[in-house]
């Protein structure tokens, strides 16, 4: 089993533990699943990435929330938009050269906006469907902003962990 896959599984378990044992606030959803998807190897195409996102979300819903489909619904669009976001933030030549993402080469200045974009996509869908029209807009907006800031900060750390090996390889 490749180390990236092992890291992905361990971080998935960490996400499950975080959601299950640390429900900080009604106004906060801490999530780093988009960052995990962002840091998966580029060789995986969009379709494979969407299937991975779907199964990850489904497994997480199964063992944590019980609302089967909620995380999958929010995570599949992240997988769909992963490639366009990488092209937008890191440049499309990364695909042409077959490079992997690296903190050392691309720098955190590029990772932060990419993580922000993908996390925002996830949170918008997640909060929207989770609230199901039962809470006012301002509550959802506040929850989105707080969750985006906290999750993005956490996601940068997760990306560091995920890309540690590949970064060393490019040195």
């Amino acid at each position: 089993m490749r180390r990236t896959t092992l890291k992905y599984i361990l971080l998935f378990l960490a996400q499950a533990i975080l959601w299950n044992f640390f429900p900080f606030s009604q106004h906060l959803t801490l999530v780093f699943l988009p960052a995990m998807l962002l840091c998966l190897p580029q060789e995986r195409g969009t379709i494979r990435m969407m299937l991975t996102a779907f199964l990850t979300g489904l497994a997480l819903d199964f063992i944590v929330s019980g609302q089967l489909g909620l995380t999958s619904f929010a995570l599949v669009p992240v997988a769909l938009l992963r490639r366009p976001v990488i092209s937008l933030v890191f440049g499309s030549e990364i695909f042409a050269r077959g490079e992997e993402l690296s903190f050392e080469r691309q720098g955190w200045q590029k990772f932060v906006p990419a993580i922000l974009l993908l996390t925002a996509v996830f949170l918008v869908l997640f909060i929207w469907v989770d609230n199901a029209g039962t809470r006012p807009f301002w509550f959802c907006a506040l929850k989105f902003v707080l969750s985006l800031l906290a999750s993005s900060a956490l996601s940068v750390l997760v990306a560091l962990v995920m890309l540690n090996e590949s970064g060393e390889r490019w040195k």
């Binding site: 969407m50 299937l51 779907f54 089967l68 489909g69 909620l70 599949v76 199901a132 029209g133 039962t134």
Partner: protein
């Protein structure tokens, strides 16, 4: 479609994305009551938007047919309404007749069979005769006022003089002065009669109502006849007042024959009084 991506790959990606999202929503729908309700509501809203819009468009193209149906329905309803109004008017008329009969008059509805309007001595023929209880010297009235007097009666028809006949005279009570004087047609103008022999010191204002006096044995009191017009002195000794009749003789079709049930008694008393030295 992103640059450099094959159309088949793009379509497959889009199809799988839609499939996965639908599957996720399907599972969410089945597993959570709150999301189930929310999704159902969203589905109903979407259906209402889609089919409601198409229904509006469809009904727009059916407007002409709907208008025709509405017009036909409207006509049928109006016909029914008129029937009810006629029935109601008949019942009201019957109730009025019963009340008047109790006051000493009998009222018999009749239809005008023939009526002259352009002669000097105009007449009227009604479809009710002696078999219907019509007697000579009965009044002919309508809802607009006095029409004439029955002169002769056959078994099924009656012949009468209209107010547009100089031979006919009606006792009239004029306006607020309550002066009583004979009213008859002026012989010239359709719809205008004159009240004669009013003492000159009575001041008659134009627009006053003229009614039957009730002094005759033919018409009950206070039946409307018309409104006063201009006045003039005749020979310096009497005043003559024009009266614009309420009754339009060109449109009259349904009338009521009014008979004073105590007329014979009154006539006998009058004859007895005249016979006294």
């Amino acid at each position: 479609m992103p640059r450099g991506q094959k159309p088949v790959s793009f379509l497959a990606g889009a199809a799988i994305f839609i499939l996965l999202e639908v599957a996720a929503l399907g599972m969410l729908h089945a597993s959570s009551t709150l999301q189930n309700i929310w999704l159902n509501r969203a589905s109903h809203r979407t259906m209402a938007l889609l089919w409601g819009g198409s229904e509006t468009i469809r009904s727009h193209f059916q407007l002409e047919r709907l208008n025709q149906e509405l017009q036909a329905e409207n006509a049928a309803l109006q016909e029914r309404l008129r029937a009810y109004e006629r029935l109601e008017a008949d019942q009201e008329e019957l109730a009025r007749m019963a009340a008047r009969e109790a006051a000493g008059y009998r009222y018999t509805p009749a239809t005008v069979v023939k009526m002259s309007r352009n002669l000097t001595h105009n007449y009227i023929i009604l479809n009710k005769g002696s078999e219907d209880g019509i007697r000579p010297q009965s009044g002919i009235i309508s809802d607009r006022g006095v029409v004439g007097i029955v002169e002769a009666v056959d078994r099924h028809y009656s012949y009468g003089l209209t107010l547009m006949n100089p031979q006919m005279s009606v006792g009239a009570r004029v306006g607020r002065t309550e002066i009583v004087a004979p009213l008859s047609w002026d012989g010239r103008t359709s719809g205008v009669a004159v009240v004669r022999n009013i003492p000159p010191h009575f001041n008659i204002e134009p627009g006053d109502t003229v009614r039957t006096s009730g002094y005759s044995s033919i018409f009950p009191p206070d039946l409307p006849i018309g409104v006063t017009g201009g006045t003039r002195l005749v020979d310096g000794s009497t005043r003559q007042v024009d009266v614009h009749l309420f009754q339009d003789f060109s449109t009259v079709r349904y009338v009521t024959v009014v008979e004073n049930l105590e007329r014979s008694e009154m006539m006998a008393l009058e004859a007895a009084g005249e016979g006294r030295p």
